[in-house]
């Protein structure tokens, strides 16, 4: 007998959400425990791969809010990652090394820029929208290439930020900072996609005309989702800059946005965990496909893209729902109310 109309506590909501997103939390748990594996096998550089996966997955999750849930095929999100990364670099350049400040500035600039680009781009739809977001991203790319003060084409090196008393150069400190931010972002997204806002956003993707006919203004929802996704990408960029200790305009080249999309589709479009799963698959492929080629065709080891390109075409032509779709297809389904949302 349920209590009518009493709002569930936040804890209760959180637990319910975690249960509905088991794949997501399994992956997050895996990342938390992974350093143990690297310690056992004494391969610290594996942590680097894991950090890259977490950051890339975070950015892809951000884009997925706009793309997978909102239906906005934005080709410009790498620009926001770049802005997040350059926030650290530029602040460093002017002597501002406080990590909190980096995050605040990165989020503020991405929110502002996301708002402007979003408003301008969302005046259009379909192919126009894709092209316009692509063009804006390239504009920012060229801007940073031409800013000689901040390294221009060559980029600039970065010191890891100061976070209160945490020294990010100590092993695993940065790892768990990234992990913690990932958990926060994932939780946030987990709540959003089931919230009234999220459900309306998905409704807009499903049939924008009907949502309008319900008395809502789809543009407000789309812009909000776009800005949130831009901010998340900015956060990912800030963390990435700390990890790589270097930033260059390449981080915001339009092909990076393409990579984000590949990751999303590899993992499964309209799920929260999908992009994280996709990031795992993508980066592991990037690491090991050249190795495989070394074994079979050493002369062509550098050209692993030759497999990846057609692989992508094949996945698009024949695969639907990505890898997380495959997983949920073969898991037992509960009743309608408890449908898996991963």
């Amino acid at each position: 007998m349920t209590h009518p109309a009493r709002k569930p506590t936040l804890i209760r909501l959180f637990i319910d959400s975690v249960m509905a997103h088991r794949l997501l939390w399994a992956l997050l748990g895996l990342f938390a425990l992974f350093p143990i594996v690297t310690i056992i096998f004494d391969q610290p550089f594996w942590n680097d791969i894991a950090m890259r996966i977490m950051v890339l997955g975070m950015a892809a999750m951000g884009l997925n809010l706009a793309l997978g849930y909102g239906g906005m095929v934005s080709f410009g999100h790498a620009a926001f990652i770049g802005i997040g990364a350059y926030s650290v670099g530029i602040c460093d350049y002017y002597g501002l090394t406080n990590g909190w400040a980096h995050f605040a500035i990165s989020m503020a600039v991405c929110a502002g820029l996301g708002l402007v680009i979003g408003i301008l781009s969302l005046r259009t739809s379909g192919i126009y929208f894709i092209m316009i977001t692509l063009a804006f991203a390239q504009m920012l790319f060229f801007l940073f290439v031409s800013l000689e003060t901040f390294g221009g084409d060559d980029g600039m090196s970065i010191d890891r930020a100061d976070f209160l008393m945490i020294d990010l150069y100590e092993p695993l400190r940065l790892y768990f900072l990234i992990w913690l931010v990932l958990v926060i972002v994932a939780s946030f997204l987990m709540f959003i996609v089931h919230s009234r806002f999220g459900v309306t956003l998905r409704g807009i993707k499903s049939n924008e005309q009907r949502i309008e006919a319900m008395g809502l203004t789809p543009l407000h929802y789309k812009i909000t989702a776009y800005v949130i996704s831009a901010v998340i990408c900015g956060i990912a960029g800030t963390l990435f800059a700390n990890w790589q200790e270097y930033v260059s305009p390449d981080i915001m080249h339009w092909t990076r946005s393409g990579e984000l999309m590949i990751i999303i589709i590899l993992g499964g479009l309209g799920t929260v965990a999908g992009p994280l799963l996709g990031a795992i698959v993508f980066l592991l492929l990037e690491e090991f496909l050249p190795e495989l080629l070394h074994l079979f065709a050493p002369a062509y080891a550098e050209n692993w893209m030759i497999i990846f390109g057609p692989l992508l075409v094949v996945v698009v032509l024949f695969g639907r729902g990505g890898i997380s779709g495959l997983i949920t297809t073969y898991m037992p389904k509960k009743s309608d109310q408890q449908v898996r949302h991963d």
């Binding site: 936040l10 909501l13 709540f191 006919a213 319900m214």
Partner: protein, 250 residues
């Protein structure tokens, strides 16, 4: 003298040389079921688009409950009290019937912009959604995915969503389009029951439904009103007979 729910005053719309709407005026009174009929190409859809706000008229004004809404966008008009069903069902295919109702209910409550509380398990939204679905008898199909519904059921859902915000005016654009005889009969019943609470402007080709339901009929031919009156008056009107020769096979 009661004031009309919807009033069109001298609406005009041209596409180049084509006059799609020619000085159209009409009024829909409270509780009235007002049918808009005319041969194909008469400009009925264009007129509905202008009333809904998807297309601006070249001149003329549109009043809803005495308020001039000519400059308002569709979403604002819906909030002002217009509900619309589309000729081709605009239901949310990727969700269940109940979820469609919930999304409509939270829009009705003007409370769709929250980020934390889940929507589909919210008791107040579910309760409101059930009311919406019950109006058209779709409650039994609440957990069915809309993609699995029959065509007739989707038209019902379309109608339910149009009614969701308890509008003062319902714009029904060919609700029976593509419906078989059984579904048409049910739809006619439901619309008939609905129109006690809400004024309806109905575009339909199904003449049985029109003559059963309509309190008042306006006939549109080539963008202009050629006749308006009760069902009896219209069926006796020579101009209408000429324009509509043979009636409509339905």
């Amino acid at each position: 003298m009661t004031s009309p729910v919807l009033e069109l005053r001298g609406l005009n719309k041209s596409f180049g040389a084509l006059r799609a709407t020619h000085d159209v005026s009409l009024a829909v009174m409270p509780g009235q079921l007002h049918a808009l009929i005319g041969p194909n190409g008469a400009g009925k859809t264009t007129l509905i688009q202008q009333i809904y706000g998807a297309m601006p008229p070249d001149s003329g004004s549109i009043l809803l409950n005495g308020r001039d809404i000519t400059a308002l966008k569709p979403a604002a008009r819906v909030r002002a009290g217009i509900g619309r069903s589309f000729q081709i069902s605009n239901v949310l295919m990727d969700f269940t019937v109940l979820e469609n109702g919930i999304i409509a209910e939270q829009a009705r409550q003007r409370a769709a912009f929250t980020f934390l509380q889940p929507a589909f398990t919210d008791p107040s939204l579910i309760a409101g959604a059930k009311i919406i679905l019950d109006r058209v008898g779709l409650l039994a199909r609440a957990n069915q995915r809309v993609a699995n519904l029959s065509h007739g059921e989707r038209r019902m859902l379309e109608l339910a969503l149009a009614m969701a915000a308890s509008p003062s005016l319902l714009l029904l654009d060919e609700p029976m389009a593509g419906a078989g005889p059984e579904d048409s009969r049910r739809m006619t019943e439901i619309i008939g029951a609905l129109h006690k609470d809400v004024a309806i402007l109905l575009i339909e080709h199904d003449m049985d439904a029109v003559f059963t339901l309509a309190d008042h009929i306006t006939v549109l031919v080539e963008g202009a009103v050629i006749a308006a009156g009760t069902a009896t008056e219209i069926s006796a009107n020579d101009d209408v007979k000429t324009a509509y020769l043979g009636g409509d096979p339905q």
